[in-house]
Amino acid sequence: MLSGAELNEIEKELRAYSDRKMGCIGALKIVQRHRGWITDEALRDLAGYLEMTPDELDSVATFYPLVFRRQVGRHVILVCDSVSCYNVGYEELLWHLMKRLAIGLGQTTADGRFTLLPAACLGVCESAPAIMIDADVHGGLEPPEKVDQILNSYE
């Protein structure tokens, strides 16, 4: 069941659109903010609420990489793998992160703290190589050890 807080936010989001379905991406993101990811159950409940079939909503949910249809850790690290970062040390940064966290791309640490995901250009190329943790951008990560202290600030 969708919570009262979720429903409130979703109703506010839907005001920008003339048809409930049109607000489905924003609604998915609201539910995800509350629960961390979109479970099958949440998907069914939200679909019903937006007058969509679950399949219809899932076809949208699975298209967008920032909608998580699998469980993620408490913090999601997006590692930019596009060309501006590639040219200034993306590979070293990725290796360092994988070693530090002992996980590969698409995986979550055993303590559920971090999920590591590849990301398209984050639009901060002037401070490449860059990553994003939750809503925060961290750039200039050359040499890659610079990321260690940053990770410490996410519990």
């Binding site: 003339s18 590639y86 398209a120 250009c121 639009g123 002037e126 401070s127």
Partner: protein, 435 residues
């Protein structure tokens, strides 16, 4: 350069925080809107923008005034009912970060540009489509929209003129295809961001089947300045370097001394941007080539650096200005690895609608991966060029695949010897050297 020569960025605060509505008004903000509503007809605003020779800053360089003029007006069926204007703030072109800078620093400029575009085309509803990772832009825009409503620059009967405009912020959730204007419209309707057939063009049948203008953020930010200072002033900003009007926010990333973005007269040379503004290459790195305007443009070499960065000049040397934010390749980065990074991006972002893009790009990635790992064959090089031909315009539904073909074809052509070396020596020469 003085602030007057840098209309887009000259008024930014030194601390990088967004201008509030009062500060924006002090710099002359919303004067253009006041003038348009009081003294100008919608057609007058459109003509001024046409005269200014402003061309779209989203990458394709389409003249903005003409784009607007395709929106039906008058008493036909399209003119009754809602019309829309959408700001394309998806900015997912790799290497591009100019629209973020504009939104984070001066969000009201975008709002005023959209107001003027809406007035000129008769739109009564506006959306700002922001990519999901741009939290800073979304915060700045959200606050600015609320401030603009508070002062009746948005809403009903704006400043007593009878003109209405509602404006909404839409936060996206990733996927490069959202920046393609018809994919964007599908996404805004809550669907997968797959492209639509053109024609009909969005100006006739766009959001919810209604007339819709989609413009890039930087394009729209120019409009208040054109209306405030006139088309002639705007044309003069380019200092005769180019037939195009205005300035351009250029950028540089890669191993240059000062990666960043600078507002300069449109038509400034690539060399000046690279050497003066970006400070040249970092010590110990040599320049090998650049992509002039994002990932989906052709490589240029040292011999092309004197090209003027405007839409027509860059085309003459075999590339495109694109977004005007250059990505630099240095001698210590492997051109095959860089190409692999580029093509992985395109392959992953392909929406899967057409075969050359869906199948071709994953094949390209596979071949490039093999070459980079030292397992490529000489025939692969021609196969890559063949794929670049198959991805070119005319074979696919949207411009994503042609965009992928541009760095692929030119990269293989210009750095062919490096590809051959990988194959001959059966390893990546850069990996050995760097490890």
């Amino acid at each position: 350069m003085s602030n007057a020569e840098r209309p887009l960025t000259g008024d930014f605060r030194a601390d990088g925080r967004p201008l509030g509505i009062g500060e924006y008004e002090k710099t002359g903000g919303y004067l253009a809107l006041r003038r348009a509503l009081k003294e100008m007809s919608p057609a007058g605003v459109m003509d001024e923008v046409k005269d200014s020779r402003l061309r779209g800053r989203g990458g394709a360089g389409f003249p903005t005034g003409s784009k607007w003029s395709f929106v039906p007006s008058g008493a036909d069926v399209f003119s009754s009912g809602p019309k829309f204007i959408v700001a394309n703030a998806d900015e997912m072109e790799p290497g591009t970060f100019k629209d973020r800078i504009l939104m984070e620093n001066n969000p009201h400029m975008l709002i005023e540009g959209m107001l003027l575009g809406a007035y000129a085309t008769g739109a009564d509803c506006a959306y700002i489509f922001v990519r999901g990772e741009y939290f800073g832009s979304a915060r700045a825009i959200g606050k600015a929209v609320a401030e603009a409503y508070g002062k009746n620059y948005l809403g009903k009967n704006i400043l007593g003129s009878g003109f209405n405009l509602e404006m909404h912020l839409h936060m996206s959730a990733g996927r490069y295809m959202c920046g393609e204007e018809t994919g964007l419209l599908n996404s805004l309707e809550g669907k997968r961001a797959i492209p639509r057939t053109k024609p009909p063009y969005p100006q006739v049948s766009g959001f919810m089947g209604r007339p819709t203008v989609v413009n890039n953020v930087e394009t729209l930010c120019n409009v208040p300045h054109i209306i405030r200072n006139g088309a002639e002033w705007f044309r003069g900003l380019s200092r005769g370097f180019s037939g195009d009007g205005g300035t351009k926010i250029y950028g540089a990333s890669g191993r240059v001394k000062r990666p960043g973005a600078w507002e300069l007269p449109i038509g400034t040379t690539a060399r000046e941007i690279l050497e003066e503004h970006a400070g040249g290459m970092r010590d110990g790195f040599r320049f090998r080539g650049l992509l002039p305007g994002g990932a989906s443009t052709e490589f240029l070499l040292e011999e092309h650096l004197d090209v003027r960065m405007d839409f027509d000049s860059v085309q003459k040397v075999g590339s495109r200005m694109g977004t005007g934010t250059m990505i630099i390749l240095d001698d210590r980065t492997c051109p095959v690895g860089m190409q692999l990074s580029l093509q992985k991006f395109f392959a992953r972002e392909s929406c899967g609608w057409c075969t050359p893009c869906r199948e071709g790009l994953s094949w390209v990635v596979h071949m490039l991966g093999a070459i980079e790992e030292g397992q490529g064959e000489m025939e692969d090089i021609d196969l890559l060029l063949e794929q670049a031909r198959l991805l070119a315009p005319g074979h696919t539904f949207c411009a994503l695949a042609p965009g992928a073909a541009e760095p692929l074809g030119s990269g293989v052509k210009y750095f062919r010897q490096d590809f051959e070396r990988h194959i001959r020596e059966k390893h990546c020469p850069w990996k050995i050297k760097n490890s």
